[in-house]
């Protein structure tokens, strides 16, 4: 069993403990165990930006192993300053592999350092360093100086915040090489702790329980991935492959979710990205290679390069804002990564400001003279900078669209596009009922990536009518449980949810790596369900119930005006009823029941909720 490293920034105390075997059997690793550890050590009601908040960094049972689409994922669980809920943010970079090689499966970071600090972990030794010289630097510079000049070891893996995290922008990111802990404000939490960076180096071997069997299973996994048609598309286009599809099904939010079909989408489709791609890359040991390094060779943004943009950023700095200029999207992505802000949340905040300006709720007096007009790429770029540095109107938008709209008032809450405070991603919930229901009931707020309705969007692994309400509660539950198990392991979400590599092979791979029989596919889904219920219980403890499983009024009142999904609204109440029934929860309150929690071996959780008066029966 692995170890948990606990680091208190306030008093610089460091301790280690072993993972209890029963925890591993019940929660596997990754998101599952990180959720369990967080649940056990957190008190409800704390301010996410206070020293009392804790971050649990975790790897999975396949981290660093020669397995496809799983070796470099890692997660952080915490309480988010955007949502005040449980949160998990997920990243792919070698930092997870280094943490495991350093001897740890999990790392708890808590407290607050007295001054800007970095934490360096090397094979079981922990060092607290002065980060005063790094404070104020962009993420690329901070990583470079820390690795090359302070630690003098280019093999070190780093996770750093930029100026936005230091300024507590509520959706600040943590930059890890060229990837991010993107959503939920992980960077703001580090900033509030005066923690500029985490650096890790390890060179210990990672044990495998049954190496020969693992190799044999991975050979089968490779065959399956090679045969999948989608693999080739991701190799060519990356995640931007889906841009045309989402638009064609009328699910592409345009102008702050007023429309769902973007007439200019051809200018932003994956072909433009292919033309600007200079290098394909991917996670270590993964054959899919979906990362695309793009470079702008000419024009006003010449010289900009990025690992990306991913589909979401194509949309958030592009179509959402009626901006068809791909080069400016790339440049906006560069700025967001350097300053350290989430491109999804930033784009939705900018869309909110543009609609508020159009309606006269914001004027040039509020915007330092800027006309916030749809499609104005210069305004978009300037707002990314202002948000990151909390300058002028950027200070309001840095709060996230929920708090910004509450401060602004005058009806702006109606078009603040978030669920539980997390800005919505590049899917309109109205025409994809299970996918939308997944976002509404998500334990982390408006995320597409925690219960994706692949059946409705791609027709994989089975085709489902996306407008129909029938069976959508149960389908959503399945998708959420499936992903929760997947993120314990930590499988790449794309080939896993669409079953390009088959679930039976994946469960056997996890068993071979760990030497534990987790019960096959049935066992995997039960583990996923247990994790989902535990995460839900975290939120119940924080005061969340059915009333919070809702979404902006636009989706409930305004039918989609035109395009392939014209006329669709989101049928919230019947879908929620279906969902709670499928979960085995109390339909009236949306809360888990004792019977369900005990069925999932979570009696202690049921007891706690009962004491708090939050267990319906």
């Amino acid at each position: 069993m692995g170890k948990i490293l606990r680091i208190n920034l306030t008093d610089k105390k460091v301790s280690e403990s072993s993972l209890p075997e029963e925890y591993v059997k019940k929660f596997v690793g990754g998101r599952g165990l990180a959720a369990k550890i967080l649940y056990d050590i957190m008190k409800p009601g704390i301010d996410p930006l206070s020293p009392e908040n804790k971050m649990v960094w975790g790897v999975g049972p396949l981290t660093g192993l020669p397995v496809q689409a799983a070796s470099s994922g890692w997660v952080v669980t915490t309480k988010s300053p955007l949502t005040n809920t449980y949160f998990r943010s997920r990243c792919v970079s070698n930092l997870g592999i280094m943490l495991k090689r350093a001897g740890y499966d999990f790392m708890i970071i808590e407290g607050k350092a007295e001054k800007p600090t970095y934490v360096y972990i090397e094979n079981g030794e922990v060092e607290f360093g002065d980060a005063s010289s790094l404070w104020g630097t962009t993420t690329d510079l901070a990583q470079y100086i820390l690795k090359e000049h302070i630690l003098r070891n280019p093999k070190v893996e780093t996770a750093v915040i930029g100026p936005a995290g230091e300024r507590l922008v509520r959706y600040a990111t943590v930059q890890c090489s060229t990837r991010q802990l993107g959503r939920g404000g992980m960077g703001a939490i580090m900033g509030a702790k005066n923690l500029k960076a985490v650096a890790v180096y390890g060179d210990k071997p990672i044990p495998i329980a049954n190496e020969e069997l693992l190799k044999e299973l991975v050979r089968e996994q490779i065959k399956q991935l090679a045969a999948a048609h989608g693999t080739k598309r991701m190799q060519r286009y990356g995640t931007a492959a889906i841009h045309a599809l989402i638009n064609q099904i009328g699910d592409y939010p345009y102008k702050n979710f007023r429309e769902t079909y973007y007439p200019n989408h051809e200018k932003l489709n994956g072909e433009g990205k292919v033309r600007r791609t200079i290098r394909n890359a991917g996670c270590p040991t993964c054959m899919i290679m979906c990362w695309k390094f793009t470079y702008v060779k000419e024009g006003p943004y010449a010289g900009a390069w990025i690992d990306g943009p991913e589909y979401e950023t194509f949309w958030s700095f592009g179509g959402l804002l009626d901006n068809p200029n791909l080069d400016s999207v790339i440049y906006g992505n560069v700025l967001a990564d350097k300053f350290g802000i989430d491109t999804i949340s930033a784009g939705v905040c900018i869309a909110f400001a543009m609609e508020a300006f159009e309606r006269g709720i914001l004027t040039t007096k509020d915007t330092d003279g800027m006309e916030l007009k749809w499609g104005d790429e210069k305004v978009i770029i300037e707002l990314i900078r202002k948000i990151s540095l909390r300058e002028g109107i950027g200070d309001l938008l840095a709060e996230g669209v929920k708090i910004a709209s509450e401060k602004l008032g005058r009806g702006s809450e109606e078009f603040a596009m978030h669920i539980k405070g997390l800005e919505l991603p590049a899917y309109d919930p109205r025409p994809v009922k299970a996918h939308g229901l997944g976002m509404v009931t998500s334990n982390i707020g408006g995320s597409h990536a925690i219960g994706y309705g692949t059946q409705e969007v791609f027709g994989l692994p089975t085709r489902v009518d996306r407008f129909s309400l029938e069976g959508k509660g149960a389908l959503t539950v399945y998708n959420q449980n499936r992903l929760a198990w997947g993120e314990c392991c930590i499988w790449c979400t794309f080939p896993t949810r669409s079953e390009w590599h088959k679930p039976d092979v994946l469960t056997k791979i996890v068993d071979a790596a760990t030497g534990i029989d987790f019960g096959g596919i049935e066992g995997a889904l039960k583990i996923g369900e247990r994790i989902w219920n535990l995460e839900k219980a975290f939120n119940v403890r924080e005061g969340f119930d059915r009333r919070h499983d809702t979404l902006p009024a636009r989706f409930l009142k305004e039918p989609i005006p035109s395009g392939p999904s014209a006329g669709q609204i989101f049928e919230l109440e019947p879908l929620l009823n279906q969902y709670y029934e499928a979960r085995g929860w109390d339909v009236a309150t949306g809360l888990p029941t004792r019977a369900k929690l005990e069925e999932l071996d979570l009696k202690d959780v049921a007891d706690e909720l009962e004491k708090l008066g939050k267990l319906p029966y």
Binding site: G230, R233, A241, T454, L460, F467, P564, S565
Partner: protein, 90 residues
């Protein structure tokens, strides 16, 4: 005579050499029949359209919706058909 518009996306444009085409529909036909006609017309598309449901090689949309069963989905004229490669992402 009623017409349909067929749109191709991504590398299917390279296989067909066009981004879209129009077609007259004399009488209603199943989506499967239409895909067979397109396979004959664009031979390079044949391997991806043939048995696409089982192989997971393409996504076919009729007016933005995915028919659950291509053999029973009826094309009457006036529809927009989108033919996209199988993909993932987001």
């Amino acid at each position: 005579m009623p017409k349909i518009v067929v749109k191709f996306f991504q590398d299917f444009r390279e296989l067909t050499g066009v981004s879209s085409m129009e077609m007259n529909v004399d009488q209603p036909m199943s989506l499967l029949t239409l895909l067979n006609i397109l396979s004959e017309h664009y031979q390079k598309l044949k391997p991806v359209l043939e048995d696409f449901e089982r192989k997971g090689s393409a996504i076919i949309l009729v007016n933005g919706r995915t028919p659950i069963d291509a053999s029973s989905a009826l094309i009457k004229g006036g529809e927009e058909i989108a033919i996209l490669p199988m993909m993932e992402g987001g």
